[in-house]
């Protein structure tokens, strides 16, 4: 009897936590999204009413939501290629040599990925500062006017995105470097003997062999951009005038600043659906690619 219980004793604490905070909340979100639940529910549950799909209807008529959705789409469309290309190029270059210098450099590229976003954002806001920031000083050296890095609606998108790209490449460089270990040396040597140059070898042998890693990084980076939250939250709080408000920022503000739990949950269900659909499409594309 004792023996049969053992695995359950080992597995249940973690499973209980995982179900409570990983699985159960999804169901709760789906249920709450059909109610008008807000802060008054804490006083009495009788303040919560079933409203059907009203929240979803309101959501799709909400210009703020569409703006957040548009911003998120823009960030993903520009940000995914930027991160994938930059980290792949850096990894290929870092892989050029295995000597101590190249190995030491890897760490530098990796540091932004492991440092706290809040701390990092403070440093960047200081660099971006209009009056005494370093970037505007550098601009003044070449005779340019000071720039509103974080308060111009278009430029702020760039500034916030730049920090995310800077933070996002380190992890992917590591993944690409790990994948590069798997490229057989014989292929490259054979190509050299056939007279192929470095460019040719990189584009005709290495990159095609990295297909799976590139695919993987693209999927995870897409998901990360769709959940984009930290950088705009700390740097601009979604401003100016919602220019850097991503869907996640929108949800956070509706949920925790305005306490519209029902409405925000409807938004989170929509975000979840979008992420699920895009991931499925990417997986499907990948499968089609495999058949070829």
């Amino acid at each position: 009897m004792r023996n049969r219980l053992t695995p359950y004793l080992f597995v249940s604490p973690a499973m209980l936590l995982l179900i409570t905070f990983g699985i159960f909340p999804i169901l709760v979100a789906a249920v709450i999204s059909t109610t008008d639940m807000n802060i008054s529910a804490f006083a009495s549950w009788s303040n919560v009413d079933f409203v059907g799909v009203d929240n979803y209807v309101t959501l799709f008529g909400d210009p703020d939501f569409w703006q957040a959705l548009g911003n998120t789409g823009l960030f993903a469309v520009v940000g995914v290629p930027a991160i994938v290309v930059l980290s792949l190029a850096t990894a290929l270059l870092l892989n050029q040599s295995q000597n101590w210098f190249f190995r030491a450099l890897r760490s530098f590229y990796f540091i932004p990925a492991i440092t706290a976003i809040v701390a990092v954002s403070l440093v960047w806001s200081y660099l971006y500062n209009t009056q005494f920031g370093l970037f505007n000083y550098l601009l003044s050296l070449v005779g340019a006017e000071p720039v509103q890095w974080l308060s111009d609606p278009w430029l702020s998108k760039f500034s916030v995105g730049l920090v995310a790209v800077w933070r996002g490449t380190g992890l992917n460089i590591i993944i690409f470097l790990a994948a590069l270990q798997g490229v057989p040396k014989e292929y490259l040597e054979a190509a050299s003997i056939d007279g192929a140059g470095e460019w040719r070898k990189t584009f005709s042998i290495t990159i095609p062999l990295l297909r799976f890693a590139i695919f993987f990084v693209s999927v995870t980076t897409t998901i990360a951009w769709l959940q984009f939250f930290d950088e705009p939250f700390v740097l601009t709080d979604g401003g100016p005038l919602g220019a850097t408000t991503s869907v996640s920022i929108f949800l956070y503000k509706e949920g925790f600043r305005l306490n519209q739990f029902g409405y925000a949950s409807a938004g989170s269900v929509v975000l979840f659906a979008i992420i699920a659909v895009i991931t499925l499409i990417q997986l499907r594309l990948r499968r089609a690619d495999d058949e070829y």
Partner: protein, 281 residues
Amino acid sequence: MSTNRDASNRRRSRGLTLSIGIALGIGALITAFPFLWMIATSLKPQRESIDFPPTILPQEPTLEWYQALFTELDFGRYFLNTIIVVAIGFIGLLLMAMAGYAFAKFDFRGRRWMFFLVLATMMIPVQVTMIPTYLILNGMKLTNTLVGIALPTLVSGFSIFLFRQFMTTIPTEMLEAARLDGAGEFRTFWQIVLPMSRPILAVQVVLTFISGWNSFLWPLIIASDQKLYTLSVGLALLNQQLAVNPSLQMAAASVMVIPILIVFIVFQRYVIQGFALSGLK
């Protein structure tokens, strides 16, 4: 003739490596520059940090801002709270190791669907569960507690998965031998399974430390009492002070970043291995 060409080829490839090395070196400096700027500014007197044109290195280095953080502001408490949240995270690590062990070495009813749930949670974004989790914690009366801050991220599907993958490679005979010697199940786990899992454990300990130390969203949502702020939340509040005193802010940012840099330098191998593994999921 051919040796000549080989030599010139080699010279060319050495030249290529050298120029790539220089380009990467410059890239690395640019990447790390915000951190150098942060540390340099944290040592500047306030007037110097808002000087225009800016100075690169502090002209009159001072540690006054680090002092101010711990005397005038409550960063000592934030520091302690952060350590407590990290420590709770290590309890979670133990629970995940136990679960990974059960999935790897026991056959039991429900194993398949439980493991499916583990994998499924890896795909659910935090923004979707943010509000319900807050409501659940509120229902458990755990909002505004350090336990409440740590609970939502205490276990992760991915870590359980990694433990399971590694522990499958432990020979079952060793476990049987321990049981024959009369060791209880938990003792077998503690004295045989955990020590044998040291490589994956080291990776996970370092990753747990980093993610606990850096965690921002849950402290922000759960801690409304200033006594419970972690470093990240305390730091976010300093954001409003930028116009006033960048030196103080950069000192605070350094307090948060430097421990991570030390952990990274010391345990670099494990950190990089851990992140490379995350490429497997």
